[in-house]
């Protein structure tokens, strides 16, 4: 790897940047971005996502990282084919999303209009009757009543159209929900397979994990990953030692004093950096 530090380039497989202002998170971002000229190094394998940078108190999912480490070594769980097949089926489901919200709003507003006009028609027609009984002129009111009745008819037509549109949209949505339900059951099956695959890696890599802990200058009691209760940083170091990372691993706060022992201990290119 090659790292640009100020005016000069640092080149090698074990580089100490603890005395420079370049921070570990900046380095990790540069390693993952091929366009970033700060670090020139091979692209990391996916296991790298769980290990950047390795530092005290880091949060990571040991099972997921261990499975990624196994895959970086070319191991394949007996579930891999099924997972890939499920992935393809999930991706092939095309999800339609009819706009129910607009249809609901239209139907509700049309219903409100009809109710309001019905009330106005009833009131106006009551007033016409009252004036007729009192022998008062009603021409003006009758015109108003006729206009309201026309408006009511139009509103009723719109309400019927809106209800039909909503009911069509709801049938389309029901069909689309079948697809969503199918997709969800495929997603659940895939998650079960992934869990099973992680269990498989956990089992297969139990020995290498325990030996890696043993081989590191750390305090954690060597244990298989399912029983491991030590610090996350030390589990991450063990996984880094097992995995094929390709890219340099960034270490913060130990446990190695000098870069060459880190390089030897993890069997990977390393950068010692500050937080």
């Amino acid at each position: 790897m090659r790292i640009q530090v100020g005016e000069t380039d640092r080149v090698g497989q074990a580089i100490d940047l603890r005395g420079t202002p370049i921070r570990a998170t900046r380095l990790a971002a540069a390693i993952r971005d091929p366009a970033d000229s700060l670090v020139i190094a091979p692209q990391p394998t996916p296991v790298y996502d769980h290990l950047e940078p390795i530092r005290p108190g880091m949060e990571f999912d040991c099972r997921v990282a261990l499975a990624a480490a196994g895959r970086s070594l070319g191991l394949e769980s007996p579930h891999a084919t099924a997972i890939a097949r499920l992935e393809r089926r999930i991706e092939s489901i095309d999800l339609e999303t009819p706009n129910l919200r607009a249809a609901r709003r239209r139907a509700a507003e049309a219903g409100t209009d009809v109710a309001a006009l019905e009330e106005q028609v009833a009131r106006t027609s009551g007033r016409v009757n009252a004036r007729q009984e009192a022998d008062l002129p009603v021409e003006e009111l009758e015109e108003r009543l006729a206009a309201l009745t026309r408006e009511l008819t139009e509103a009723e037509t719109e309400a019927i159209a809106a209800r039909e549109a909503l009911s069509r949209a709801e049938s389309e949505a029901a069909a689309a929900r079948d697809d969503r339900a199918d997709r969800l059951s495929l997603v659940d099956r895939r998650e079960n397979r992934r869990r099973a695959a992680r269990e498989w890696f956990l089992d297969v890599l139990a020995g290498p994990f325990e030996r890696a802990l043993q081989g590191l200058p750390i305090g954690a009691e060597p244990a298989p990953p399912s029983d491991y209760t030590g610090p996350s940083q030390e589990a991450a170091l063990a996984i880094a030692r097992i995995a094929d990372l390709a890219a340099p691993v960034v270490l913060v706060d130990g446990p190695f004093e000098i870069p060459v022992t880190a390089r030897a201990g993890l069997d990977a290119p390393v950068i010692l950096a500050r937080v």
């Binding site: 999303t97 949505a173 689309a176 969503r180 969800l184």
Partner: protein, 112 residues
């Protein structure tokens, strides 16, 4: 009651979390399906889920079925008679044949 159905793992998880936070608004929950109380809180929670997860959340309003107001007498009678039939192995088609009970096809095609 308000029926809420989730159609993605995220929506299902959110539905579970919502029940944990507001158990008083939940009448029942079965996996990714829940019945919420018909209160403003129930509506608020259902709408919030739909706003967040869009078409991955279905919301409907349910009410108890009164068979005496909403179901034709022929259907009611057929259901009662078939449930109380003497031979448990008789399929409905055979049971209804030659009687006044409606056929499965006519039941299927008529809207309630």
């Amino acid at each position: 009651m308000l029926l809420v159905i989730a159609y993605s793992s995220e929506a299902r998880q959110k539905l579970r979390n919502t029940e944990r936070a507001y158990p008083e608004a939940f009448r029942r929950r079965f996996g990714r399906v829940a019945l919420l109380a018909e209160t403003h809180l129930g509506a608020f929670l259902a709408l919030r889920l739909r706003e967040r997860h869009g078409p991955d959340v279905q919301v409907a309003r349910t009410e108890p079925l009164n068979e005496f107001s909403h179901v034709p007498g022929s259907v009611r009678t057929a259901a009662t008679a078939y449930a109380n039939r003497e031979t448990a192995a008789t399929p409905y088609t055979k049971f209804a044949a030659g009687t006044a009970h409606p056929s499965i096809d006519s039941l299927r095609d008529r809207e309630l």
